[in-house]
Each structure stands twice: as C-alpha cells, then as structure tokens.
C-alpha cells in the first residue's frame, strides 16, 4: 500500500538514468526519493584521497552524493596501491586528484567533483570548508587533523573522523551540534617521535577500507538524517582480533575550542602546535667529531676501502627480511637503548634505516650516550638502492 507524499521536491529531481542507477536506494523507505535527493543536494569535502579517502570518495560517488570536494596535492606512488584503491597501476606518477576524479567520474558521472590541489592550511581551510555540508577527515597526520577539527568546530560543520595504524582503527563523528570534537577526545597531539608513524609502523592495506567505509556510512546517514551516528561514541576496530569495541565520548567541559571557556577562537599554527617544523630540521649543535650525514655511495666507498666502520641497520626484523645491506648489523631502533653495550664509542659508526628518519633518531640517541663518531646514512636503504645497488628492492 504505497502512499504518495506531497513533499517530494519539484525542482532538482532525478533523471531516468539516475532513477535506474539508484533504484536499490529508492525502494528502501529509509532513503527513497526524498533521501536520494538529499544525497544529490549534499556537498561533502573529503580531505585526502589516500587510504581512507579512496573508499570514502568511491562509495559516496556511487551513493549519489551530488558534490564531492577532494583535497590532495600528492602524486600516486607504487607503495600507495596496496590500500589506495581509487588509484591504479596506470596512475603511478599522476596527481592523485586527477586519478581520483577520473575514477569517480567513471563510477558516477552525475557527481560534481571539486578539486582542491592544496595542502589544507590555516590560511585556506575556512574558505574551503565553508562551501560544504560535511567534512570527512582522511588525513594521515596530526597537524592536519587538528586543523580540520578546529575549522569544523568554528564553522559548525560535522567532521567524520577516521584514523588507522597497523591493524587498528578508530572512527567517530565530531563537531555535530552539541557533540564532542577531536580535542574533547585528545586535547593535545603526541610529541613527534613518541608514537611511531605508519611509514615506520606499516598498515594493513584493507584496514583503511574498513574504516573509510564506516566514515562513508556516517556521511550518508548525516545527509539522510537517519539512524544513530557515531557522535558521542568512539569506535575502535582491531583487525587482528576482528573485534569492534565502543567507548563513550563526551563533550569536554575543558575543551579549548568547543568548551564553555574556550581559549581558541581562530585557526592557529598547527605545525608548531604539533611540534612538527615545516622547515627542515636545523642541524643540532653537537660536538660531533664528524659530519653528521653521509651519502650511501660514500659508505660503499668506505666499505670497498675496507675502512674500519661499523654499519648499523635500525629497522625492524621483518624489514631486514625484505632487503638488507650485507655488512650491516641489525639493531631495531626500539632495542637500541638496551643494546648500547654491543657498540664501541671509539668506532666510526654509520646508521641506516629505510629512509633516514629512524636512523637520525638513533644517531641522536647514540650521541646522547657518548658515541660521537656517528653518522646517519642519508636517505636510508632506499637511497642505497638508487646510488649503490639497484638490485636492492624498494618497499
């Protein structure tokens, strides 16, 4: 017994092509014509087209969200393809925005894609986000996450949050009316170096798929105005245990941006806030007896000359299994403090990792412990592959 509603909008209806395309939505009472038109009128900004942004963008396009803004300035790299399924092998080297927009147009040409080829910043965030109804956070770093949060709170836009690490993910909805925000959950970011990053820690390729699809689901529900969203709840997912858990999330009375005594009234410098310098790190004043960095080709020359150097690999055991430099001694960074006794402060020590970041930390640690003849192999084993031995695979 179908009933006709008199509230069906007369303008901006669906074409016959769209009616067929969205038929599995239209026959559900929770969506129907009214809901599908809400999706079509929806304007959603997806920050990032990477691991999380890929499934978010693809599903929201397929679902018929009318306007999808995409923020990204990155280029597709082969190491992205393990999880960023909006991009393909043919797209390696292309701008992610081009690749993502093309894929979305193929999935659903009715979607209007708005490209924002910028790094979201305090200077442009409000101007960009202002034009959208909902923001989906697919970012991979703390400065942008706090920026997105603060901009959404200031503009009163819901912020659909997801975050991933190795086998674990988090999702929630922040900055809804009367709902908590990311700063209610975490007032401050961890200092750089205390929490491992994904490039160091890795991520299960499917994980951002699961979390991104949860985010896309929340966007659709917010646009439809149906169901219970994750506002006020923090969803935790552990893929190894295959377990979902849920924590209560409250609006913090002490929140510096959405609390009653808020101290933040405008966007701030998020790199400074997160302790991440935008400029390359200045050389540290160290009484080092040697230059602090050395190129892989110079290391190879020293090895060939049989110079008395000690080469240390501070990557993890499973990375060492992927590829290694035969002369290097493996001491994973986390074990280094306990294994200093295996090293001699009088030796010329060269440290390497995958790309040079962890080995820089290792060099700092060694210098603090009295090892002064320590150098960091610039660019890590990736640069070794470029400069010395191309048979060493990159990962």
């Amino acid at each position: 017994m179908a009933t006709l509603t008199a509230t069906t909008p007369s303008v901006g209806g669906l074409s016959n092509e769209e009616i067929l395309r969205y038929s599995r939505h239209l026959i559900m009472p929770e969506v129907g014509m009214e809901g599908q038109l809400k999706l079509k009128a929806g304007r959603v900004l997806c920050v990032g087209t990477g691991g999380l942004g890929a499934p978010i963008g693809m599903y929201l396009a397929a679902a018929g969200v009318g306007t999808l803004g995409l923020v990204d300035f990155d280029v597709v790299d082969a190491s992205n393809l393990q999880r960023q399924i909006i991009h393909g092998t043919k797209d390696i080297g292309r701008k992610k925005l081009d690749s993502a927009a093309e894929r979305i147009a193929d999935i659903n040409p009715n979607v209007q894609v708005v490209r924002h080829e910028v790094a979201l910043s305090s200077e442009n965030a409000l101007e960009i986000i202002r034009n959208y109804d909902i923001v989906v956070d697919g970012t991979d770093n703390f400065p942008t996450r706090y920026l997105v949060n603060d901009a959404c709170v200031l503009l009163g836009k819901p912020n659909v949050y997801g975050s991933i690490f190795r086998f674990e993910g988090q999702a929630s909805v922040f900055a809804t009316k009367d709902g908590p925000c990311y700063r209610c959950l975490y007032p401050e970011p961890p200092p750089p170096g205390l929490v491992p990053s994904c490039a160091e820690g890795g991520v299960l390729g499917i994980l951002p798929g699961v979390i991104g699809v949860i985010q896309a689901t929340e966007v659709v529900k917010l646009l439809l105005g149906k169901g219970q969203t994750l506002a006020g709840r923090l969803l935790l997912y552990d893929a190894l245990q295959m377990r979902f858990r849920e924590m209560k999330l409250r609006k913090s009375p002490d929140c510096p941006i959405c609390g009653p005594n808020r101290t933040i009234h405008q966007l701030i410098d998020y790199h400074q806030f997160c302790g991440v310098p935008q400029q390359p790190l200045a050389p540290q004043p160290q009484p080092a007896a040697l230059e602090q960095e050395i190129e892989p080709r110079q290391v190879k020359a020293l090895i060939d000359q049989k110079a008395p150097i000690v080469l240390i690999d501070v990557r993890e055991v499973h990375e060492h299994q992927i590829c290694n430099i035969p002369y290097a001694k493996l001491i994973p960074l986390g074990e280094l403090p306990k294994r200093l006794h295996e090293l001699n402060p009088a030796d010329d020590i060269i440290v390497h990792c995958k790309s040079g970041m962890r080995s820089a930390k290792a060099c700092d640690l060694l210098r603090q412990n009295g090892f002064l003849r320590v150098r960091n192999m610039k660019g890590g084993i990736l640069a070794w592959s470029d400069q010395v031995d191309p048979t060493v695979p990159k990962y």
Partner: protein
C-alpha cells in the same frame, strides 16, 4: 584481576601482548603494576610530572576515566581497562 588492553603502538613494550591481567583496586594501581612490569611503557603513558599524557586516554569498560574518578576510579574483578592513544596513519610522520 582486571584486564588491560594494550593498543598496537604500545605492544612493542609489552612483549607484543595485546592484553595483560594485573592486580590493583583502582586504575592508578593497575597502571602502576603495568608500568612496573613493563618499565618502558611508563614514559609513553606518563609525562615527567607523573601525569597521564593528554594524547593517551584510559577507559574503564566503556567510560573515560576523566569522567569517573580519574586514576582513583575503583576497579574490580572482570573489569577491562583500555589504553587508547591517538594514532595517525599513512605517510611518514612527522612530515
């Protein structure tokens, strides 16, 4: 004994265990037992002043202890404490 669920980023400091059962009658005591057993965890959970770090949340079952009695929150047999740190994935961080 109450169970503490260890998140992935902190498992290297607990011999890769994802959950540890520890004695204690309140949250502070259980965390004290945890960081005594796994000393390297301490600096990840507490700052130099001995306060829980602001990017690490502790939940008793489903509730954030900040809204209970903080570290004095009583725990009993069968309770689950979760350590939930902020995480960020994808590219290298810090950039």
């Amino acid at each position: 004994m109450p169970k503490v669920i260890i998140p992935t980023p902190l498992r290297p400091f607990t011999n890769q265990q994802d959950a540890v059962e520890l004695p204690g009658s309140n949250v502070g005591e259980v965390l004290q037992a945890l960081t005594t057993q796994y000393a390297e965890l301490r600096k990840h959970l507490y700052n130099d002043e001995g306060k829980l770090r602001s990017f690490v949340n502790i939940y008793l079952n489903e509730e954030d202890i900040r809204y209970l009695d903080k570290e004095k929150t009583a725990v009993k047999e069968g309770d689950t404490l979760s350590i939930v740190p902020s995480i960020a994935g994808g590219l290298a961080w810090p950039l």
